[in-house]
């Protein structure tokens, strides 16, 4: 193969980068102006300067960004002041993904992301605007299979999308967003002065409770909307040995994962989803280990009884015959329950001591009981099973997780016991997949754990 002349991105990249960077500059400038109490004229001038700066960055960034295919490698040169050239052999390319935002759609171009195993998001090569034809050409040149007629195709319907968003685990994301908003307010308004008044007004326990509930509800609504944005139009298809996943409301993302690189799938039954008989499916793959949760989702929502069948359709190498897990014996129950109950008791006691109110001591038994329930849940979930070339490990902490992993792709497996477990002839089994994700079955019958350990070793 021969080297080709360096190419520029589609000129739409100027606009994409200009808008992106001027939004950043614009936001920062306006915030500074508001905080410093500048007049509207100054603010507008600063904002215009921000937009102009963004446009310049867009233009020069485009001028200085080139890429070309040279034999078996992709070269990518970028950077205005410190040009930097990345070279990726096509054999190392994990997938060529696209992310198409509203701007790119308006220009009829796509953003191409070249996935390299082990690279963080920052190290990915991102071509912010190329035409569809150019994308197809690059994909072919980098040895990526072109989309074919799918063997399997699953779409997330509107009803399931709403259900997934309503029961999602993204609540923590919303909480951190709220923390950000709070920090912003803290900077903008004089919290010392206004805040004390606010707290003074919230003087009764009832009002504080209402405030907390309002914050939680707002967080929930934010999480709901975030999930809708991320998972809208979710679609997963399998064709010619790869999984193709498309999702997103404003920015459409298309991800490709070779089936050969899928180490396992986790069936996650979250606290809200479990009781409703729902679960999410997550991909364990070394190439996508560093991705955020959304990027590793095989399906945001599935009926729990259908989960194994759906996995078998999408990832045939993880198909398992239905069967029962090897469970911990009844004498293991107290080992599951004891530690979380004691932890609840201690935390509750500490809470009561700090608060110093007699009524607060109720927290100790309540938290101990909650701990006991968590332990019971762990006991009821724990189990392991060898199903042909697949190992199934189930555990529960807060969410119940069932890991289906290809045995010969396990990164390591371990047997663990404390002297107390040894005395009771119990042991823990732990398997580790490529993304660093683990499946752990605790307090198994020692013989069961050792047999599984030995079987895994033969597979490895």
């Amino acid at each position: 193969m021969t080297s080709e002349a360096p190419r520029h991105l589609h000129p739409a990249a100027i606009v994409v980068v200009a808008v992106r960077s001027s939004l950043q500059l614009f936001g920062g400038i306006v915030l500074v102006a508001i905080v410093r109490g500048s007049g509207p004229g100054t603010t507008a001038a600063l904002a215009l300067a921000g937009i102009a700066g963004g446009a310049l960055m867009g233009y020069f960034g485009w001028r200085k960004t080139t890429y070309w295919i040279d034999g078996p490698a992709l070269h990518f040169r970028s950077g205005v002041f410190t040009p930097d050239e990345k070279i990726v052999p096509s054999a190392r390319v994990q997938g060529v993904d696209t992310a198409t935002g509203p701007l790119q759609r308006a220009f009829g171009v796509v953003e191409l992301r070249v996935q390299i195993p082990g690279a963080s998001d920052a190290d990915e090569i991102v071509l912010s605007a190329v035409t569809h034809e150019e994308a197809a050409r690059l994909r072919e040149a980098l040895g990526q299979p072109a989309p074919a007629e799918p063997d399997e195709l699953l779409r997330l319907g509107m009803r399931d999308l709403l259900l997934a968003a309503a029961t999602g685990p993204q609540i923590s994301v919303a909480l951190s967003a709220l923390a950000g908003v709070y920090a912003l307010f803290n900077n903008v308004i004089d919290f010392e002065k206004d805040g004390e008044g606010l707290i003074a007004r919230l003087d009764t326990a009832q009002e504080i409770a209402i405030g907390v509930a309002a914050v939680l509800f707002a967080a929930y609504v934010l999480a709901f909307l975030a999930a809708i944005v991320v998972f809208s139009g979710f679609e997963v298809r399998r064709d010619a040995g790869v999984l193709r996943i498309r999702r997103g409301l404003f920015q459409r993302r298309a991800t490709t994962i070779p089936l050969a690189r899928v180490d396992g799938i986790v069936i996650v039954e979250g606290l809200a989803r479990g009781p409703l008989g729902l679960a999410a499916l997550r991909i364990e793959s070394a190439a996508h280990g560093s991705e955020k949760a959304a990027g590793r989702t095989l399906l945001p929502l599935v009926r729990r009884p259908e989960a194994e069948a759906v996995i078998a359709r999408l990832v045939p190498s993880l198909a398992v015959e239905p069967g029962a897990l090897e469970r911990p014996p009844p004498r293991a129950l107290r080992r599951f329950v004891l530690v979380p109950s004691l932890a609840g008791l201690v935390v509750g006691g500490a809470f009561a001591l700090v608060l110093g109110a007699a009524a607060a001591w109720i927290a100790a038994p309540v938290l101990a009981l909650l701990g006991a329930l968590v332990g019971l849940r762990g006991y009821r979930a724990a189990g392991v099973r060898m199903a042909g070339s697949v190992v199934v490990v189930r555990e529960a902490r807060l969410a119940r997780r069932t890991l289906l992993a290809r045995r010969h792709r396990l990164q390591e497996h371990a047997l663990r016991r404390t002297p107390l477990q040894a005395r009771a002839a119990l042991a823990d089994l732990r398997v580790t997949v490529g993304s660093g994700g683990q499946g752990r079955a605790r307090h198994l019958e020692r013989g069961t754990a050792e047999a599984a350990f030995a079987a895994l070793r033969r597979a490895a």
Partner: protein, 156 residues
């Protein structure tokens, strides 16, 4: 019950590792004691028991833990896998299949040199497994044996 679990690995860590852990434990115990003493004398005279507590924690930590840790540590490199056993309270036996190993590194620091040791890190896609002390010749041998078996196709 089926127990065709292979016998546990047999190679202990060299005596230098025990010596190194003893020194590390001794130093950390001394630091702990110094901090406790500092608090008791300088910050709050109300805590005369703090240095005593530090001694009560530090002495067993320096004497018992390194010995137990060393007694438990065992490793073996088999045809197909690296097999290690470690842990004082939780005793863990971990198998790392050689085909999954991405690279091996041998780490020397001034501190490990003092005890005639090196550390061997085995990296997989999931993380790093470390043998905390080996004689340099031993480590080179392990590394070469692993690398000799790594002539596998490029895969994760």
């Amino acid at each position: 019950m089926i127990t065709d679990v292979r016998p546990e690995p047999e190679n202990p860590l060299p005596d230098g590792a025990l010596k190194m852990w003893r020194w590390e434990a001794l130093i950390s115990a001394l630091v702990l004691f110094a901090i406790a003493l500092g608090i008791a004398m300088g910050v709050s005279a109300l805590m005369p028991w703090l240095p005593l507590a530090a001694v009560a924690v530090g002495v067993p930590q320096a004497i018992v833990l390194p010995r137990e840790r060393h007694r438990r540590w065992r490793w073996a490199l088999h045809e197909q896998e690296l097999d290690i056993v470690y842990g004082i309270w939780e005793v863990t036996r971990t198998i790392v299949p050689i085909t999954r190993i991405q690279h091996v590194s041998v780490q020397r620091t001034g501190w490990t040199d003092t005890f005639g040791l090196v550390r061997l890190h085995v990296h997989t896609a999931a993380g790093t497994t470390t043998i905390p002390g080996l004689a340099p010749a031993q480590a080179d041998d392990v590394r070469d044996r692993i690398l000799a078996r790594l002539q596998t196709p490029d895969d994760l």
